[in-house]
């Protein structure tokens, strides 16, 4: 009944981890709040050419800009469609404003709603209840934002459906040989996104024999909550991995130019994603 109960069998190449866990039409979350964004997994998903995905993520960021630009998304559930610190997501905008390369459905929330929806998913609840959206226009354009009245105080609170992704992809510092996963630094919403999902695929910088001597609270996911683990050194680039390498800010700035032009984007994706392998990420973090 638990995903990936057999520990040793869950460490595998990234290609296999993606192939065995994702299918066309799935609802999928790639999480990592600026830190630990699973870009290598995203690129592998693009190489394998999935279709009609529902992409869930608080900040769609460069990772979804690439998938949307490749025409893989039918729907995006999100709360901040920006390139953090740089500006707009130009492929996502092209899809919303011009239907290129295909139209996408958008379901827009606030960060608080998205975080609460993941937490509700992890907690096995059908919906999240919180104090939010007061006076805001999003409930007028997103029919999944509703309200409930507190049975004790009468306060009207916002309610949104829980996130229950088919698959959640995350990147982490390390796993041990048993498959327990450790994350430190800005931990974001990955634990909730993983526990809300039916299947969990984790890329890690390295696998160590055990976590002896490390801080006892650093393990966020025990091995029996994880479906597959793939070692991809540099797998968060151009995001960063606390304790391993810094954010490649120049790459985020470059993306603003690459994504501004459809042909430039297509050429960049061919060179850096379609014709590349997960091993390329180790090169990309050199000097960071």
């Amino acid at each position: 009944m638990f995903p990936g109960w057999s520990a040793m069998s869950k460490v595998m190449p990234l290609g296999q981890a993606v192939r065995e866990n994702l299918k066309d039409g799935d609802a999928v979350a790639f999480e990592g709040f600026t830190h630990l964004i699973p870009h290598a997994a995203g690129h592998e998903v693009i190489r394998q050419g999935f279709k009609d995905l529902t992409l869930i993520r608080m900040t769609p960021d460069v990772i979804y800009d690439q998938m949307i630009g490749m025409g893989m998304a039918k729907k995006v559930i999100f709360s901040y469609a920006g390139n953090p610190g740089v500006g707009l997501l130009r492929r996502m905008r092209d899809a919303i404003e011009n239907g290129y390369p295909r139209t996408i459905e958008t379901v827009e929330h606030s960060h608080a709603a998205m975080a609460n929806a993941y937490e509700a998913g992890a907690a096995g609840l059908p919906c999240a209840v919180f104090r939010g959206y007061k006076g805001a226009d999003l409930p007028k354009v997103n029919p999944s934002i509703k309200s409930v009245t507190c049975p004790f105080t009468g306060e009207v609170l916002a309610a949104v459906p829980a996130h229950r992704p088919d698959v959640t992809f995350i990147h982490a510092q390390k796993a041990n040989e048993r498959g327990d996963v450790l994350i430190e630094g800005i931990v974001g919403v990955q634990k909730e996104a993983a526990l809300a999902a039916k299947r969990v695929v984790v890329t890690v910088e390295e696998i160590v024999p055990d976590f002896e001597g490390l801080h006892p609270n650093l393990t966020v996911l025990p091995h029996w909550t994880v479906t597959a683990i793939a070692v991809v050194k540099g797998g968060a680039h151009p995001s960063y991995t606390h304790g391993y390498y810094d954010r490649d800010n120049a790459a985020y700035l470059e993306w603003d130019k690459v994504s501004a032009d459809r042909e430039l984007f297509a050429a960049w994706m061919k060179d850096n994603v379609l014709d590349a392998t997960p091993e390329a990420f180790a090169e990309r973090i050199k000097g960071l």
Binding site: F33, T34, H35, M58, T59, F78, S79, Y80, A81, G82, P84, G85, V86, L88, L89, M92, R93, I96, E97, E108, S110, H111, A112, A115, N116, Y118, E119, F130, R131, G132, Y133, K134, G135, A136, D137, L138, V141, E155, V156, G185, I186, V187, G188, V189, K191, E192, Y240, H242, D246, R247, D248, N249, A250, A251, Y252, L253, R284, K286, G287, L288
Partner: protein
Amino acid sequence: MTNFTPTEMMTIAASRALTSKDVCFVGIGAPSAACNVARLTHAPDITLIYESGTIGTAPDVLPLSIGDGELCETAVTTVSVPEMFRYWLQGGRISIGFLGAAQIDKFGNINTTVIGDYDAPKVRLPGGGGAPEIATSCGEIYITLKQATRSMVEKIDFFTSFGHGDGGDHREKLGITTKGPTLLITDLAIWKPDPVTKEFTVISLHPGVTREMVQETCGWTVKFADNLEETPAPTELELTTLRDLQERTRRAHEGGKAA
């Protein structure tokens, strides 16, 4: 007198509004610069919180994103994003939310979602992120932006974050118990809401700025306070602190991959 730019005046005037007692939820961009200048000058004990979960952070350079590693390394503690929004923001532990804006109206309502119609937008902006709940859960809201007729408009296209709505007691009517926007700092002036109508009123002009300059760059008819003041020019310390911070930031972000 020292030379300074309108943007520098805006950032420094915004920094002066903060004190060591404040617990401040910091938006990226101009708010982040203002909050850190405050911390490096007159408000060393201010608690700065970024929505990535970093509480009590003291970065040496301004973060490019709200989740830069340095925010975590210098923070008192770093919590998960659900905890950030539930216990700390919704829990009422944050006194000031400091926001920027793409579009704002005279009642401090903010649009960062779309220009034009939501379903067929002329320009799709990033959206709200944390702002819709920051605007209603923080004790009060400070807003900073550069004046322009396309950003200070009579009617915003989308209510991303609620300010004072149609003015008056609109917040109370919606059951919102926090104060909402209490301060607007632009590159030309300092504005505060009228105590009754809640319409933003200019209370202080920055040095060298005229009423006409404020009106020409604002899309609604501007109200000025009877006892209009002049914002004190930046001090040498304030200006040096801001410029050093920006220079350190520029050098750090140029970094990226060693070429």
